[in-house]
Amino acid sequence: MSADTRPLALIADDDPDYLEQMRLWFEREGFEVAAAGSELEARTLLRRRRPDVAVVDLMMERLDAGFTLAHAVKQTDPAIPVLLITGVTAETGLDFEATSPEGRPWIKADAVLAKPVRFEQVRRELERLGVRRG
Protein backbone atom coordinates (compact mmCIF):
# COMPACT_ATOMS: atom_id res chain seq x y z
CA MET A 1 0.00 0.00 0.00
CA SER A 2 1.27 3.48 -0.82
CA ALA A 3 1.96 5.94 1.97
CA ASP A 4 -1.07 7.91 3.11
CA THR A 5 -0.96 11.32 1.47
CA ARG A 6 -4.05 12.62 3.20
CA PRO A 7 -3.59 15.48 5.72
CA LEU A 8 -3.66 14.29 9.32
CA ALA A 9 -6.21 15.62 11.82
CA LEU A 10 -5.55 14.99 15.51
CA ILE A 11 -8.88 14.93 17.35
CA ALA A 12 -9.13 14.73 21.13
CA ASP A 13 -12.41 14.41 23.03
CA ASP A 14 -13.29 12.27 26.03
CA ASP A 15 -16.90 11.86 24.89
CA PRO A 16 -16.72 8.83 22.57
CA ASP A 17 -19.67 10.06 20.50
CA TYR A 18 -18.27 13.53 19.82
CA LEU A 19 -14.98 11.86 18.93
CA GLU A 20 -16.71 9.44 16.57
CA GLN A 21 -18.69 12.23 14.86
CA MET A 22 -15.59 14.33 14.30
CA ARG A 23 -13.79 11.27 12.95
CA LEU A 24 -16.60 10.51 10.51
CA TRP A 25 -16.80 14.12 9.35
CA PHE A 26 -13.06 14.68 8.95
CA GLU A 27 -12.64 11.40 7.07
CA ARG A 28 -15.43 12.44 4.73
CA GLU A 29 -13.57 15.73 4.19
CA GLY A 30 -10.55 13.75 3.07
CA PHE A 31 -8.48 13.72 6.25
CA GLU A 32 -6.72 10.86 7.90
CA VAL A 33 -7.82 10.95 11.55
CA ALA A 34 -5.85 10.24 14.70
CA ALA A 35 -8.51 10.02 17.42
CA ALA A 36 -7.63 10.38 21.10
CA GLY A 37 -10.01 9.87 24.02
CA SER A 38 -7.82 11.67 26.53
CA GLU A 39 -5.12 14.29 26.77
CA LEU A 40 -2.59 11.55 27.51
CA GLU A 41 -3.52 9.60 24.41
CA ALA A 42 -3.34 12.77 22.31
CA ARG A 43 0.14 13.57 23.62
CA THR A 44 1.29 10.06 22.72
CA LEU A 45 -0.06 10.43 19.18
CA LEU A 46 1.48 13.89 18.93
CA ARG A 47 4.95 12.55 19.75
CA ARG A 48 4.66 10.00 16.96
CA ARG A 49 3.36 12.17 14.14
CA ARG A 50 2.93 15.81 13.27
CA PRO A 51 -0.74 16.57 12.55
CA ASP A 52 -1.85 19.13 9.95
CA VAL A 53 -4.58 20.33 12.29
CA ALA A 54 -5.56 19.61 15.89
CA VAL A 55 -9.13 19.69 17.23
CA VAL A 56 -9.16 19.50 21.03
CA ASP A 57 -11.97 19.41 23.57
CA LEU A 58 -11.42 21.74 26.51
CA MET A 59 -12.69 19.55 29.36
CA MET A 60 -11.34 16.04 29.36
CA GLU A 61 -9.87 14.17 32.34
CA ARG A 62 -8.95 17.56 33.75
CA LEU A 63 -11.03 20.72 33.37
CA ASP A 64 -8.33 22.53 31.44
CA ALA A 65 -6.90 19.57 29.52
CA GLY A 66 -7.67 21.35 26.23
CA PHE A 67 -5.57 24.38 27.15
CA THR A 68 -2.51 22.33 28.07
CA LEU A 69 -2.92 20.06 25.05
CA ALA A 70 -3.23 23.07 22.72
CA HIS A 71 -0.04 24.38 24.29
CA ALA A 72 1.71 21.06 23.64
CA VAL A 73 0.63 21.11 19.98
CA LYS A 74 1.99 24.63 19.53
CA GLN A 75 5.25 23.57 21.20
CA THR A 76 5.58 20.78 18.65
CA ASP A 77 5.12 23.27 15.84
CA PRO A 78 3.55 26.73 16.19
CA ALA A 79 2.33 26.44 12.58
CA ILE A 80 -0.16 23.64 13.39
CA PRO A 81 -3.65 25.20 13.58
CA VAL A 82 -5.54 24.35 16.78
CA LEU A 83 -9.33 24.41 17.13
CA LEU A 84 -10.44 24.39 20.78
CA ILE A 85 -13.92 22.96 21.33
CA THR A 86 -15.73 23.86 24.51
CA GLY A 87 -19.05 23.22 26.15
CA VAL A 88 -18.46 25.62 29.03
CA THR A 89 -19.41 29.00 27.57
CA ALA A 90 -23.15 28.41 27.57
CA GLU A 91 -23.34 27.12 31.17
CA THR A 92 -20.97 29.44 32.91
CA GLY A 93 -21.33 32.56 30.81
CA LEU A 94 -17.55 32.38 30.82
CA ASP A 95 -16.44 33.71 27.51
CA PHE A 96 -12.95 33.75 26.16
CA GLU A 97 -11.81 34.87 22.80
CA ALA A 98 -8.80 33.10 21.35
CA THR A 99 -7.99 36.06 19.17
CA SER A 100 -8.59 38.87 21.68
CA PRO A 101 -5.58 40.73 23.12
CA GLU A 102 -6.23 39.29 26.61
CA GLY A 103 -6.89 35.76 25.44
CA ARG A 104 -4.18 35.48 22.87
CA PRO A 105 -1.09 35.11 25.05
CA TRP A 106 -2.35 32.23 27.15
CA ILE A 107 -4.86 30.42 24.97
CA LYS A 108 -2.81 28.59 22.40
CA ALA A 109 -5.67 28.07 19.99
CA ASP A 110 -6.48 29.64 16.66
CA ALA A 111 -10.21 29.31 17.09
CA VAL A 112 -12.62 28.48 19.91
CA LEU A 113 -15.86 26.73 18.94
CA ALA A 114 -18.80 26.06 21.26
CA LYS A 115 -20.36 22.61 21.60
CA PRO A 116 -22.38 21.28 19.88
CA VAL A 117 -20.15 22.12 16.96
CA ARG A 118 -21.69 22.88 13.57
CA PHE A 119 -19.64 21.11 10.93
CA GLU A 120 -20.17 24.11 8.63
CA GLN A 121 -18.37 26.20 11.22
CA VAL A 122 -15.46 23.76 11.36
CA ARG A 123 -15.23 23.88 7.57
CA ARG A 124 -15.15 27.71 7.63
CA GLU A 125 -12.43 27.75 10.29
CA LEU A 126 -10.33 25.22 8.37
CA GLU A 127 -10.60 27.42 5.27
CA ARG A 128 -9.79 30.58 7.23
CA LEU A 129 -6.72 28.92 8.75
CA GLY A 130 -5.60 27.60 5.37
CA VAL A 131 -5.60 23.95 6.41
CA ARG A 132 -4.66 21.66 3.50
CA ARG A 133 -7.59 19.49 2.44
CA GLY A 134 -7.48 15.94 1.22
Binding site: E20, Q21, W25, G87, F119
Partner: protein, 380 residues
Protein backbone atom coordinates in the same frame (compact mmCIF):
# COMPACT_ATOMS: atom_id res chain seq x y z
CA UNK B 1 -9.37 36.36 71.84
CA UNK B 2 -12.50 37.40 69.99
CA UNK B 3 -12.71 36.58 66.35
CA UNK B 4 -11.86 39.83 64.53
CA UNK B 5 -14.93 39.28 62.35
CA UNK B 6 -17.01 39.31 65.54
CA UNK B 7 -16.71 43.00 66.35
CA UNK B 8 -19.98 44.90 66.24
CA UNK B 9 -20.36 48.66 66.20
CA UNK B 10 -22.72 50.17 68.74
CA UNK B 11 -23.76 53.80 68.34
CA UNK B 12 -24.68 55.48 71.63
CA UNK B 13 -26.99 58.34 70.60
CA UNK B 14 -27.73 60.50 73.64
CA UNK B 15 -27.40 64.19 74.41
CA UNK B 16 -26.09 63.55 77.95
CA UNK B 17 -22.31 63.04 77.82
CA UNK B 18 -22.42 61.11 81.12
CA UNK B 19 -24.79 58.53 79.67
CA UNK B 20 -22.62 58.08 76.54
CA UNK B 21 -19.49 57.58 78.62
CA UNK B 22 -21.35 55.17 80.90
CA UNK B 23 -22.52 53.13 77.92
CA UNK B 24 -19.01 52.99 76.45
CA UNK B 25 -17.59 51.85 79.79
CA UNK B 26 -20.30 49.23 80.42
CA UNK B 27 -19.92 47.65 76.97
CA UNK B 28 -16.13 47.85 76.67
CA UNK B 29 -15.46 44.39 78.08
CA UNK B 30 -18.73 42.73 77.12
CA UNK B 31 -18.32 39.48 75.18
CA UNK B 32 -21.38 37.73 73.78
CA UNK B 33 -21.28 34.14 72.57
CA UNK B 34 -23.87 33.70 69.85
CA UNK B 35 -24.60 31.99 66.56
CA UNK B 36 -24.45 28.34 65.53
CA UNK B 37 -20.64 28.37 65.50
CA UNK B 38 -20.52 29.76 69.04
CA UNK B 39 -18.57 32.79 67.83
CA UNK B 40 -17.60 35.41 70.37
CA UNK B 41 -18.66 38.96 69.64
CA UNK B 42 -17.17 42.09 71.12
CA UNK B 43 -18.36 45.67 70.77
CA UNK B 44 -16.90 48.94 69.60
CA UNK B 45 -18.86 51.93 70.92
CA UNK B 46 -19.20 55.18 68.99
CA UNK B 47 -21.05 58.25 70.21
CA UNK B 48 -23.46 60.80 68.77
CA UNK B 49 -24.58 63.85 70.82
CA UNK B 50 -27.75 64.84 68.98
CA UNK B 51 -30.24 63.68 66.37
CA UNK B 52 -28.47 65.32 63.45
CA UNK B 53 -25.10 63.77 64.34
CA UNK B 54 -26.85 60.39 64.76
CA UNK B 55 -28.39 60.57 61.29
CA UNK B 56 -25.10 61.69 59.79
CA UNK B 57 -23.24 58.77 61.39
CA UNK B 58 -25.90 56.28 60.30
CA UNK B 59 -25.67 57.62 56.76
CA UNK B 60 -22.05 56.42 56.59
CA UNK B 61 -23.22 52.87 57.40
CA UNK B 62 -21.60 50.11 59.44
CA UNK B 63 -23.60 50.59 62.65
CA UNK B 64 -24.95 47.28 63.96
CA UNK B 65 -26.73 48.31 67.14
CA UNK B 66 -28.20 51.75 67.81
CA UNK B 67 -28.90 52.81 71.42
CA UNK B 68 -31.29 55.63 70.67
CA UNK B 69 -32.30 58.28 73.22
CA UNK B 70 -35.86 59.30 72.78
CA UNK B 71 -35.47 62.98 73.64
CA UNK B 72 -32.48 64.39 71.76
CA UNK B 73 -32.25 67.89 70.29
CA UNK B 74 -32.21 68.57 66.49
CA UNK B 75 -33.96 65.30 65.69
CA UNK B 76 -35.81 63.19 68.22
CA UNK B 77 -35.39 59.44 68.51
CA UNK B 78 -38.69 59.08 66.69
CA UNK B 79 -37.40 61.22 63.81
CA UNK B 80 -34.31 58.99 63.56
CA UNK B 81 -36.45 55.84 63.60
CA UNK B 82 -38.68 57.27 60.87
CA UNK B 83 -35.62 58.08 58.74
CA UNK B 84 -34.33 54.51 59.13
CA UNK B 85 -37.67 52.89 58.46
CA UNK B 86 -37.55 50.24 55.77
CA UNK B 87 -33.86 50.61 55.05
CA UNK B 88 -31.94 47.36 54.47
CA UNK B 89 -28.89 48.62 56.33
CA UNK B 90 -30.85 49.88 59.35
CA UNK B 91 -29.18 48.91 62.64
CA UNK B 92 -30.95 46.98 65.34
CA UNK B 93 -32.40 49.79 67.43
CA UNK B 94 -32.91 49.86 71.19
CA UNK B 95 -35.01 52.86 72.30
CA UNK B 96 -33.71 54.45 75.49
CA UNK B 97 -36.23 56.59 77.30
CA UNK B 98 -36.91 58.15 80.66
CA UNK B 99 -40.67 58.34 80.31
CA UNK B 100 -41.71 55.09 78.76
CA UNK B 101 -45.37 55.09 77.92
CA UNK B 102 -47.27 52.31 76.26
CA UNK B 103 -48.24 54.68 73.49
CA UNK B 104 -44.64 55.53 72.70
CA UNK B 105 -43.65 51.87 72.82
CA UNK B 106 -46.32 50.98 70.27
CA UNK B 107 -45.31 53.87 68.04
CA UNK B 108 -41.59 53.01 68.23
CA UNK B 109 -42.24 49.34 67.50
CA UNK B 110 -44.24 50.34 64.46
CA UNK B 111 -41.27 52.38 63.31
CA UNK B 112 -38.97 49.40 63.66
CA UNK B 113 -37.44 49.58 67.15
CA UNK B 114 -36.29 46.18 68.36
CA UNK B 115 -36.27 46.71 72.14
CA UNK B 116 -36.56 49.26 74.98
CA UNK B 117 -34.40 50.29 77.85
CA UNK B 118 -35.81 52.58 80.57
CA UNK B 119 -33.69 55.30 82.14
CA UNK B 120 -32.13 55.17 84.60
CA UNK B 121 -30.58 51.77 83.84
CA UNK B 122 -27.79 49.86 85.57
CA UNK B 123 -24.71 48.70 83.61
CA UNK B 124 -25.97 45.10 84.06
CA UNK B 125 -29.36 45.98 82.53
CA UNK B 126 -27.64 47.68 79.62
CA UNK B 127 -25.34 44.71 79.04
CA UNK B 128 -28.25 42.25 79.16
CA UNK B 129 -30.24 44.29 76.64
CA UNK B 130 -27.27 44.68 74.28
CA UNK B 131 -26.35 40.99 74.58
CA UNK B 132 -29.91 40.11 73.58
CA UNK B 133 -29.61 42.40 70.55
CA UNK B 134 -26.27 40.82 69.57
CA UNK B 135 -27.72 37.32 69.76
CA UNK B 136 -30.59 38.46 67.57
CA UNK B 137 -28.16 39.94 65.03
CA UNK B 138 -26.00 36.81 65.02
CA UNK B 139 -29.04 34.62 64.40
CA UNK B 140 -30.20 36.88 61.55
CA UNK B 141 -26.75 36.82 59.96
CA UNK B 142 -26.58 33.04 60.30
CA UNK B 143 -29.96 32.71 58.61
CA UNK B 144 -28.84 34.97 55.77
CA UNK B 145 -25.63 32.99 55.35
CA UNK B 146 -27.51 29.69 55.23
CA UNK B 147 -29.98 31.07 52.69
CA UNK B 148 -27.11 32.25 50.49
CA UNK B 149 -25.38 28.86 50.83
CA UNK B 150 -28.60 27.11 49.84
CA UNK B 151 -28.96 29.34 46.78
CA UNK B 152 -25.35 28.61 45.80
CA UNK B 153 -25.74 24.83 46.14
CA UNK B 154 -28.97 24.98 44.16
CA UNK B 155 -27.34 27.01 41.40
CA UNK B 156 -24.40 24.62 41.24
CA UNK B 157 -26.74 21.64 41.06
CA UNK B 158 -28.67 23.24 38.22
CA UNK B 159 -25.60 24.16 36.21
CA UNK B 160 -24.14 20.67 36.51
CA UNK B 161 -27.53 19.22 35.61
CA UNK B 162 -27.70 21.46 32.55
CA UNK B 163 -24.27 20.25 31.51
CA UNK B 164 -25.17 16.59 32.04
CA UNK B 165 -28.27 16.99 29.86
CA UNK B 166 -26.50 19.04 27.21
CA UNK B 167 -23.77 16.50 26.52
CA UNK B 168 -26.07 13.69 25.30
CA UNK B 169 -28.32 16.18 23.52
CA UNK B 170 -25.35 17.47 21.57
CA UNK B 171 -24.17 13.94 20.79
CA UNK B 172 -27.57 12.99 19.35
CA UNK B 173 -27.77 16.26 17.43
CA UNK B 174 -24.31 15.62 15.98
CA UNK B 175 -25.29 12.17 14.67
CA UNK B 176 -28.48 13.58 13.16
CA UNK B 177 -26.50 16.30 11.38
CA UNK B 178 -24.09 13.73 9.97
CA UNK B 179 -27.09 11.81 8.64
CA UNK B 180 -28.76 14.98 7.35
CA UNK B 181 -25.63 16.24 5.60
CA UNK B 182 -25.24 12.90 3.83
CA UNK B 183 -21.85 12.28 5.44
CA UNK B 184 -22.99 8.70 6.16
CA UNK B 185 -24.84 8.21 2.84
CA UNK B 186 -22.34 5.62 1.56
CA UNK B 187 -21.69 4.12 4.95
CA UNK B 188 -24.64 2.01 6.11
CA UNK B 189 -22.63 0.58 9.01
CA UNK B 190 -21.71 4.06 10.19
CA UNK B 191 -25.34 5.16 9.84
CA UNK B 192 -26.56 2.18 11.88
CA UNK B 193 -23.99 2.94 14.54
CA UNK B 194 -25.05 6.59 14.60
CA UNK B 195 -28.65 5.54 15.27
CA UNK B 196 -27.59 2.98 17.89
CA UNK B 197 -25.40 5.48 19.73
CA UNK B 198 -28.10 8.16 19.57
CA UNK B 199 -30.56 5.77 21.18
CA UNK B 200 -28.01 4.86 23.86
CA UNK B 201 -27.44 8.53 24.70
CA UNK B 202 -31.19 9.18 24.80
CA UNK B 203 -31.47 6.21 27.18
CA UNK B 204 -28.85 7.84 29.38
CA UNK B 205 -30.83 11.08 29.39
CA UNK B 206 -33.97 9.23 30.34
CA UNK B 207 -32.12 7.54 33.23
CA UNK B 208 -30.85 10.92 34.40
CA UNK B 209 -34.33 12.41 34.34
CA UNK B 210 -35.78 9.43 36.23
CA UNK B 211 -32.99 9.61 38.82
CA UNK B 212 -33.69 13.29 39.15
CA UNK B 213 -37.35 12.61 39.79
CA UNK B 214 -36.41 10.02 42.45
CA UNK B 215 -34.12 12.54 44.06
CA UNK B 216 -36.75 15.30 43.99
CA UNK B 217 -39.32 13.02 45.56
CA UNK B 218 -36.94 11.95 48.33
CA UNK B 219 -35.82 15.54 48.90
CA UNK B 220 -39.28 17.07 49.06
CA UNK B 221 -40.67 14.22 51.12
CA UNK B 222 -43.70 14.36 48.84
CA UNK B 223 -43.71 10.70 48.08
CA UNK B 224 -45.52 8.99 50.93
CA UNK B 225 -43.45 6.12 52.24
CA UNK B 226 -45.24 2.81 52.15
CA UNK B 227 -43.84 0.74 54.96
CA UNK B 228 -44.60 -2.94 54.79
CA UNK B 229 -42.88 -6.27 55.46
CA UNK B 230 -40.40 -6.59 52.64
CA UNK B 231 -38.46 -9.73 51.82
CA UNK B 232 -35.13 -8.37 50.59
CA UNK B 233 -34.34 -11.80 49.09
CA UNK B 234 -37.24 -11.40 46.68
CA UNK B 235 -36.27 -7.83 45.78
CA UNK B 236 -32.63 -8.84 45.29
CA UNK B 237 -33.62 -11.70 42.98
CA UNK B 238 -35.78 -9.28 40.95
CA UNK B 239 -32.97 -6.76 40.70
CA UNK B 240 -30.54 -9.47 39.60
CA UNK B 241 -32.96 -10.48 36.85
CA UNK B 242 -33.05 -6.87 35.67
CA UNK B 243 -29.28 -6.65 35.24
CA UNK B 244 -28.82 -10.22 33.95
CA UNK B 245 -28.85 -9.34 30.22
CA UNK B 246 -26.16 -6.68 30.71
CA UNK B 247 -24.16 -9.08 32.92
CA UNK B 248 -24.43 -11.93 30.38
CA UNK B 249 -23.19 -9.63 27.63
CA UNK B 250 -19.99 -9.16 29.61
CA UNK B 251 -19.70 -12.74 30.83
CA UNK B 252 -20.26 -11.78 34.49
CA UNK B 253 -21.26 -14.35 37.10
CA UNK B 254 -24.10 -13.23 39.40
CA UNK B 255 -24.24 -14.72 42.87
CA UNK B 256 -26.83 -14.26 45.61
CA UNK B 257 -26.30 -15.48 49.18
CA UNK B 258 -28.75 -15.13 52.07
CA UNK B 259 -28.13 -15.56 55.80
CA UNK B 260 -30.70 -15.20 58.56
CA UNK B 261 -34.00 -13.37 58.48
CA UNK B 262 -33.95 -10.70 55.77
CA UNK B 263 -37.59 -9.67 56.02
CA UNK B 264 -37.91 -6.18 57.43
CA UNK B 265 -40.29 -3.23 57.52
CA UNK B 266 -39.35 -0.94 54.69
CA UNK B 267 -40.64 0.85 51.63
CA UNK B 268 -40.26 -1.68 48.79
CA UNK B 269 -39.99 1.07 46.15
CA UNK B 270 -37.05 2.64 47.97
CA UNK B 271 -35.26 -0.68 48.43
CA UNK B 272 -35.75 -1.51 44.75
CA UNK B 273 -34.04 1.75 43.79
CA UNK B 274 -31.13 0.99 46.18
CA UNK B 275 -30.67 -2.54 44.79
CA UNK B 276 -30.98 -1.49 41.17
CA UNK B 277 -28.43 1.30 41.54
CA UNK B 278 -25.88 -0.88 43.33
CA UNK B 279 -26.29 -3.82 40.95
CA UNK B 280 -26.18 -1.64 37.82
CA UNK B 281 -22.92 -0.12 39.09
CA UNK B 282 -21.47 -3.55 39.95
CA UNK B 283 -22.10 -4.63 36.35
CA UNK B 284 -20.97 -1.37 34.72
CA UNK B 285 -17.73 -0.99 36.63
CA UNK B 286 -16.76 -4.67 36.48
CA UNK B 287 -14.23 -6.38 34.26
CA UNK B 288 -15.36 -8.75 31.53
CA UNK B 289 -15.70 -12.26 32.94
CA UNK B 290 -15.83 -10.98 36.51
CA UNK B 291 -18.33 -11.53 39.29
CA UNK B 292 -21.09 -9.69 41.15
CA UNK B 293 -21.77 -11.01 44.66
CA UNK B 294 -24.88 -10.01 46.57
CA UNK B 295 -25.05 -10.96 50.25
CA UNK B 296 -28.03 -10.41 52.51
CA UNK B 297 -27.35 -10.79 56.22
CA UNK B 298 -30.21 -10.62 58.69
CA UNK B 299 -28.94 -9.58 62.13
CA UNK B 300 -30.83 -8.87 65.34
CA UNK B 301 -30.95 -5.08 64.93
CA UNK B 302 -30.36 -4.61 61.24
CA UNK B 303 -30.26 -6.23 57.84
CA UNK B 304 -27.08 -5.76 55.87
CA UNK B 305 -26.98 -5.75 52.09
CA UNK B 306 -23.57 -6.22 50.51
CA UNK B 307 -22.88 -5.84 46.80
CA UNK B 308 -19.35 -6.69 45.72
CA UNK B 309 -17.80 -6.53 42.27
CA UNK B 310 -14.47 -7.62 40.81
CA UNK B 311 -14.08 -4.46 38.78
CA UNK B 312 -11.90 -1.42 38.43
CA UNK B 313 -12.16 -0.25 42.06
CA UNK B 314 -11.26 3.19 43.35
CA UNK B 315 -8.52 4.88 45.27
CA UNK B 316 -9.10 6.62 48.60
CA UNK B 317 -9.57 10.07 47.12
CA UNK B 318 -12.20 8.76 44.69
CA UNK B 319 -14.01 6.90 47.49
CA UNK B 320 -14.15 10.14 49.46
CA UNK B 321 -16.10 11.93 46.75
CA UNK B 322 -18.24 9.01 45.68
CA UNK B 323 -21.60 9.75 47.30
CA UNK B 324 -21.91 13.37 46.18
CA UNK B 325 -24.33 14.52 43.52
CA UNK B 326 -23.14 14.32 39.92
CA UNK B 327 -19.89 12.78 41.06
CA UNK B 328 -18.59 10.55 38.35
CA UNK B 329 -15.14 9.16 38.84
CA UNK B 330 -13.34 10.19 35.68
CA UNK B 331 -10.19 8.33 34.79
CA UNK B 332 -8.79 6.09 32.06
CA UNK B 333 -10.70 3.08 33.40
CA UNK B 334 -14.12 4.72 33.57
CA UNK B 335 -13.98 6.30 30.13
CA UNK B 336 -16.93 5.36 27.98
CA UNK B 337 -18.99 4.19 30.97
CA UNK B 338 -22.18 6.19 31.13
CA UNK B 339 -24.14 7.21 34.18
CA UNK B 340 -26.18 10.03 35.65
CA UNK B 341 -23.82 10.65 38.55
CA UNK B 342 -26.83 10.56 40.87
CA UNK B 343 -27.20 6.84 41.62
CA UNK B 344 -25.02 6.56 44.73
CA UNK B 345 -26.19 9.89 46.09
CA UNK B 346 -29.72 8.47 45.86
CA UNK B 347 -28.63 5.21 47.53
CA UNK B 348 -27.19 7.12 50.45
CA UNK B 349 -30.25 9.36 50.84
CA UNK B 350 -32.57 6.35 50.84
CA UNK B 351 -30.39 4.40 53.28
CA UNK B 352 -30.39 7.38 55.65
CA UNK B 353 -34.11 7.95 55.18
CA UNK B 354 -34.48 4.42 56.52
CA UNK B 355 -32.27 5.35 59.48
CA UNK B 356 -29.31 3.40 58.08
CA UNK B 357 -26.32 4.23 55.94
CA UNK B 358 -24.12 3.00 53.14
CA UNK B 359 -20.37 2.37 53.24
CA UNK B 360 -17.85 1.28 50.65
CA UNK B 361 -14.56 -0.57 50.69
CA UNK B 362 -12.55 -0.51 47.50
CA UNK B 363 -9.19 -1.28 45.98
CA UNK B 364 -8.08 -0.09 42.53
CA UNK B 365 -8.18 -2.91 39.95
CA UNK B 366 -9.51 -5.37 42.55
CA UNK B 367 -13.11 -4.26 43.05
CA UNK B 368 -15.51 -2.49 45.37
CA UNK B 369 -17.93 -3.67 48.04
CA UNK B 370 -20.89 -1.54 49.04
CA UNK B 371 -22.61 -2.28 52.35
CA UNK B 372 -26.04 -0.88 53.10
CA UNK B 373 -27.16 -1.21 56.71
CA UNK B 374 -30.91 -1.09 57.25
CA UNK B 375 -32.06 -1.02 60.89
CA UNK B 376 -35.09 -3.15 61.68
CA UNK B 377 -36.65 -0.21 63.54
CA UNK B 378 -37.55 2.41 60.93
CA UNK B 379 -37.71 6.02 62.12
CA UNK B 380 -41.21 7.45 61.89
Amino acid sequence: MADPAGVLTVLAADDEPGIRTGIARALRDLRVTAGAEGAEWSLRVEEAADGAATLERLERGGVDVLLLDHGMPLATGMDVLAALHGRDDAPLTVMVTAYGTLEMAVQATKEGAHDFLAKPFTPAELRATVAKAVRHLAAAREARRLAAEKRRVRFEFLSVLAHELKAPLGAVEGYLRLLQDGVLADDPEGAARAVERSLARLGGMRKLIFDLLDLTRIESGQKARELQDVDLAVLAAEALDTVRPAADARGLRLDLGIEGDVILRADPGEQRIVLNNLLTNAVKYNRDGGEVRVRLEGGADAVRLRVADTGIGMNEEEVGRLFGEFVRIRNERTRGIEGSGLGLSIVRRLARLHGGDVAVASRPDAGSEFTVTLPREVPA
